[in-house]
Structures are given as structure tokens and as C-alpha cells.
């Protein structure tokens, strides 16, 4: 990939940066420019940029694509492609790749970890145990996770991996999907509200598209109810965030485990005082093993493209 110009939109994994450089790429570090100057940065370097490495926060929108006439491929360091203008790429003949499968287990592990964490109040317990205030007086009760009804929005790779884990906790599994899937053990509901009305823990595990934006709205939150728990390992915009915050603060929703937010890295501060929420900074694929595997997919896709070989994980 000698002299290939790569626009890196975000601060990359050191391994990825090293490898791109080692293979001869010229890196254009978009994240180092302030947001207001980024389009300008693209235009200034347009003659040299043939590839973009984006992520879940900063992909390739229409304006960026328009600014880069030599762009041939967008290799996203993510499985979600909601930040890439896919129709525009198709139109321009730009290839798009993502990082499916390698992160499925990590995301599913975190989804279940968050659910247990919320229901058993683990971060709260940790804070209390460290505080020196622990006295062995009366018991603090938290509700059992095993056996609770788990509802999954989106039964793709990640949804299925979550279902497999939840089943080991004797959780009855139900799901909403665009169409019913051949899983006789899992109960299908044809609307998100029906799913929310019939589960205790609702997990968002679908792709973010026009149709699924704010799929978790006030009606769904109310259906999940004061004992219900929402787990979001999808994308922030899946959830109407102000409605979610209001419901949690007012006690209309029992709890939430959130890995993603509408405006990362900003998290609504009203949530900070609540002990029935667990907040993590978009870490569902954040293990050294998985990020390395994701980097290898990005590198493999880029190399394949510039060597005119078949792409490893093409979406467009």
C-alpha cells in the first residue's frame, strides 16, 4: 500500500496506526483538526486521499465524500455503518467495508454484563464497599437476573449471541425483528411495544437506520415500565434520549445499562445521580483482542482493494 493516502477520522489503535505506516500509507489525521476545520482539511489534501478509515463516531458523510474525488474505499473500524453515506458511496463506486463477527462475542458479553450490573447494582456496591461506610446491619436487596424475560431488538449476529448467553441464565427469550426468524425457542413480537410489554430486560441489538432511529421512544419505555431495564449496546440514536432520562429520573423506567449515547462523549448529567443506571463509554468492542482483530480486518480490506483482490468484508 505504498504511498496510499489514508484519511484516519479518529485517534486509532496504536497497532493500526503502526501497521498502516509500516505498509507505506500516508496518514492524514482528521481528528487533530478542530471540527469546524475538518472539511477544509479534506479539501486541502484531496489530491492525496484514496481511502478513509472511519469509526462509529466519525465515518464518511456526504460532504466528506464530495470533498474527496480520489476516494476509492471506506474501511470502517466498526460493524455499524450509520455514519457512512452508503447510497452516496454506491453512486460514486466507492467500496465500503466494516468489521463484523470479530466483535460479536465482546458486544454480547458486555450486554449481559451490563444487565447483571444494573439489576444487582454492582457499581453501587463497589462504591459502598470502598467508602468505609459499610456496616453489617440490614441487607440491601437487589432483584435477581436469572429467569428474567429478555427481549432482544434485532436478532442478527449480536442478538443471537446475547440470546445464547441469556438462555444459560434460564431467561425466556423474545425478540422483535423486521421478519420472524426460524427460532422456535424464541418468542417473536411484531412490534417493539409488544416486545417491551412482555419482557423485563430489553436489549437494543439492531443496526441504526432511518427506520430504527428512536425506535425506543416514550411509548416503548412506558411499556417496559417501572420494573423494566433497558440495555443499549446499539447506537445512541436508537433511543429518544431526553425521554429516557425523564423516565429514569421520574421512576417510570426501572433502570438502564448504556454503552452508547446520542451525542458521545457527552452523557446527560441527570443520569449521574441515579444508582439504577450503569454508564460505560462505548466500550462494547473495547478489548485488546477484538480491537486488534478489527484492525486486521481494516488492513486486510485496504490491502485487498489496492491489490485488486476480493474484499474481506464488503458491504458496498
Amino acid at each position: 500500500m505504498d504511498k496510499i493516502g489514508v484519511l484516519v477520522t479518529h485517534k486509532p489503535l496504536p497497532y493500526l496506526e503502526q501497521e498502516l505506516t509500516r505498509r507505506g500509507c500516508r496518514l492524514f489525521r482528521l481528528w487533530e483538526s478542530p471540527e469546524s476545520r475538518r472539511l477544509e482539511f479534506c479539501r486541502q489534501n484531496a489530491a492525496d486521499i484514496q481511502a478513509i478509515v472511519g469509526n462509529s463516531n466519525y465515518g464518511a458523510d456526504a460532504a466528506t465524500i464530495d470533498a474527496l474525488p480520489k476516494l476509492e474505499i471506506v474501511a470502517s473500524f466498526s460493524v455499524g455503518l450509520d455514519k457512512v453515506d452508503l447510497p452516496k458511496c454506491k453512486e460514486r463506486g466507492i467500496r465500503v467495508t466494516n468489521t463484523p463477527d470479530v466483535l460479536t462475542d465482546d458486544v454480547a458479553d458486555l450486554a449481559i454484563g451490563l444487565a447483571i450490573s444494573v439489576m444487582r447494582r454492582i457499581p453501587s456496591a463497589d462504591k459502598y464497599a470502598r467508602s468505609g461506610a459499610w456496616k453489617k446491619g440490614e441487607y440491601t436487596l437487589t432483584t435477581r437476573f436469572s429467569g428474567k424475560r429478555v427481549g432482544i431488538l434485532g436478532l442478527g449476529r449480536i442478538g443471537l449471541a446475547i440470546a445464547k448467553r441469556a438462555e444459560a441464565f434460564d431467561c425466556p427469550i423474545s425478540y422483535y425483528s423486521r421478519s420472524e426468524k426460524p427460532h422456535p425457542n424464541y418468542t417473536y413480537y411484531s412490534t417493539p411495544i409488544d416486545l417491551a410489554s412482555n419482557c423485563d430486560i430489553l436489549v437494543v441489538a439492531c443496526a441504526l437506520t432511518e427506520e430504527t432511529r428512536h425506535i425506543i421512544n416514550r411509548a416503548v419505555i412506558d411499556a417496559l415500565g417501572p420494573k423494566g431495564v433497558l440495555i443499549n449496546i446499539g447506537r445512541g440514536p436508537h433511543v429518544d434520549e431526553p425521554e429516557l432520562v425523564a423516565a429514569l429520573v421520574e421512576g417510570r423506567l426501572g433502570g438502564a445499562g448504556l454503552d452508547v449515547f446520542e451525542n458521545e462523549p457527552h452523557v446527560p448529567e441527570e443520569l449521574f445521580a441515579l444508582d439504577n443506571v450503569v454508564l460505560v463509554p462505548h466500550v462494547a468492542s473495547a478489548t485488546i483482542e477484538t480491537r486488534t482483530a478489527m484492525a486486521d480486518l481494516v488492513l486486510g480490506n485496504l490491502e485487498a482493494h489496492f491489490l485488486k483482490k476480493p474484499l474481506l468484508t464488503p458491504v458496498v
Binding site: 449481559i112 454484563g113 464497599a129 459499610w134 458521545e264 466500550v283
Partner: protein
């Protein structure tokens, strides 16, 4: 051994059976138990226990032992209760009861059986995912407002595929094994004897060998003379610098000062601890560490577990008082 017959000629048949308490019952247990049994509460008397018991509890056949601060039950106490036939513990751990002395005196002991197992196992898994994936740490990071300041950068370790070594493959241990199998973790275990019911789990005859072949050790065995300090420095060295210890058993299963040293020195990678040697004291150095998750002995305190253990305790006591087989006797 047979239960002793006590002299009940002074009591009306419809009187509730007398049951001795050694510590106050939790508000989650008291109302229902006091409806069914005449609860003797020695701490309400100014008399010391060794005077109270011979004078007011000489006919008592049953004790309910409950937490969060279980009074130890030793020979000296049993001597004062000649008619005692059963100790019903609301806990699953009964290391505070001298089982040998009970056996000699023909006193049956019942515990929580397997009612706590799902919650204990859930909590062990929850602690493990938290330590490896830095959930509590991430939660602190976000709440301190550090995400916009420091950006992304938290990088944890994968749970799937970690080799899990379970110390004690009893009810809790096997519930843990079932759960972590679904996370893609190969399961090994140490137990007093191999378990033919679990052919897919690899047995090790001692904890040191188990630790050599594991990335994670989960402690779910009873605390006995044999298992005290079963996790010592050698075991931790064998587990290795990325190794994680999860303890939902009893604090004294681990040499606690050595654990603190090993965490400080990087001999092991991290720990998730629900129990400590001298609760509610938590070694102060642990409270500054980011690679540990600590909790206040709450692994089984759920309404579901409490409902289960209450029903079981009543079933055991009712069986005892009507001469029927006990439901969750502990064999010594």
C-alpha cells in the same frame, strides 16, 4: 441420629413451637417466622447467654441461625441446650457452626441448599465481566465527566474464551459453569472428588494445578479447615499476571494480606470480591485499586432468594417438628 423428645406437657397443642434465635432476624424474615414460631430472643434479656439459656431455653429444640452477623455455634453453646435437635441456617455457608460437635450431639443442621445458587452464580459472572471489561471503572469514568476530557481509551480484556477454573463444583459452582460455558469459556474445576455428572469440565486434583491451567479462578466452595487460605501466594503465582480471582464464597478462602500484595505487585491481574476475612472491614489498599471490583457481601440478597430460603427454612422446621425427613440437611 434421632431427635430428642422434649417435655411439652406444659404447652398447649396449638402453641407455636419454640425456636431460639441467637441474633435478630432480618426484617425480610421476622414477620413470617414470628407468625409460625415462638421466637426466643436472648439479647432482649439482661442475662448473659449462658445464664439465659439454662433458665429460659432448656426445652428448646430448634435454633434459627441468620445473618448478616451469624453468631458462631460451638460446643459451649450446644452444652447449654440439651433438647436441641436442629439448627436451621438461613445462609448457605455454615462455617460458623461446629458441625462435628453437632454430629456428636445428634443435632441436625440445615442450610439454604441450592436456593441461593442462581443469584450467587449471576453475581460471580457479573463480577468477572465487570473486572475484565471494566464496567464499574467505566461508570466512574463517565460520572466524573472524564469522557469528553480524556476521550476513548479504556481497553479491557475479552471474557469469551478465558479458561475458567472453579474451586468447588457444588451447586453454586455448577451454576457458574453453565453460565460461563455460554460465554465460550472452557471450564475446569477442583473439588474434593471428580464429578461424573460433568464430563465436559476438566477435573484437577489440586488448586495449584488448576491455577496453572486457568485464566480465571472462581471460588464457590465451603469454608472449612481444609479450604482456609486455599488461595495462597503459590496459587496466585501459578494463575499469573493476567489472572483474575472472583470470590463469592468466604473471605478466608484467600490469604487476604497476600492477595493485596499480589495485586499491588502485579503477580495477578485483578479480582472481584464479594466477601472479606473480617467484614465489614475491607483492606484499605484494595479501595484505591482500579483492577478490582468490591462488593458488600450481597451476592445472594435478592427478594427471590429470600423468599426461597424462607420457604425452605419453614419446610425444614415443619418437617423436624412433625418427625419427617429434612429437606436440606448438611452432611458433615
Amino acid at each position: 441420629m434421632e431427635k430428642r423428645i422434649c417435655d411439652v406437657t406444659n404447652k398447649e397443642p396449638q402453641d407455636k413451637p419454640e425456636v431460639l434465635l441467637l441474633q435478630p432476624l432480618s426484617i425480610y424474615f421476622e414477620p413470617i417466622l414470628s407468625q409460625k414460631y415462638d421466637l426466643l430472643k436472648p439479647w432482649e434479656s439482661p442475662l448473659p447467654l449462658n445464664v439465659f439459656l439454662p433458665n429460659h431455653a432448656q426445652f428448646v429444640q430448634a435454633i434459627i441461625s441468620s445473618g448478616p452477623n451469624c453468631l458462631p455455634i460451638e460446643n459451649s453453646l450446644l452444652h447449654l441446650l440439651p433438647n436441641l435437635g436442629i439448627i436451621t441456617a438461613m445462609t448457605v455457608g455454615i462455617d460458623h457452626i461446629d458441625l462435628e460437635a453437632c454430629r456428636e450431639k445428634g443435632v441436625a443442621v440445615t442450610n439454604a441448599g441450592s436456593t441461593y445458587s442462581p443469584d450467587a452464580a449471576d453475581f460471580a459472572v457479573g463480577l468477572l465481566v465487570d473486572v475484565l471489561r471494566q464496567i464499574s471503572m467505566g461508570d466512574r469514568f463517565v460520572r466524573k465527566g472524564l469522557w469528553p476530557v480524556n476521550g476513548d481509551g479504556l481497553l479491557g480484556a475479552q471474557v469469551s474464551g478465558k479458561r475458567v477454573g472453579i474451586v468447588g463444583l457444588g451447586s453454586i459452582g455448577s451454576h457458574v459453569a453453565k453460565r460461563l460455558t455460554a460465554f465460550g469459556c472452557p471450564i475446569s474445576y477442583f473439588s474434593r472428588a471428580p464429578k461424573p455428572n460433568y464430563p465436559s469440565y476438566k477435573y484437577f486434583p489440586n488448586v495449584l494445578d488448576l491455577a496453572h491451567e486457568s485464566d480465571v479462578l472462581i471460588l464457590s466452595c465451603a469454608l472449612t479447615a481444609e479450604t482456609q487460605n486455599i488461595i495462597n501466594r503459590d496459587v496466585m503465582i501459578a494463575l499469573g499476571k493476567d489472572g483474575i480471582i472472583i470470590n463469592v464464597g468466604r473471605g478466608a478462602l484467600i490469604d487476604e494480606p497476600e492477595l493485596v500484595r499480589c495485586l499491588k505487585e502485579g503477580v495477578i491481574g485483578g479480582a472481584g470480591l464479594d466477601v472479606f476475612v473480617n467484614e465489614p472491614e475491607v483492606p484499605e489498599e484494595l479501595t484505591y485499586m482500579e483492577n478490582v471490583v468490591l462488593s458488600d457481601h450481597r451476592a445472594v440478597t435478592t427478594p427471590e432468594s429470600f423468599k426461597g430460603v424462607l420457604e425452605l427454612a419453614i419446610a425444614n422446621l415443619d418437617a423436624f417438628f412433625s418427625g419427617k425427613p429434612l429437606l436440606s440437611p448438611v452432611s458433615c
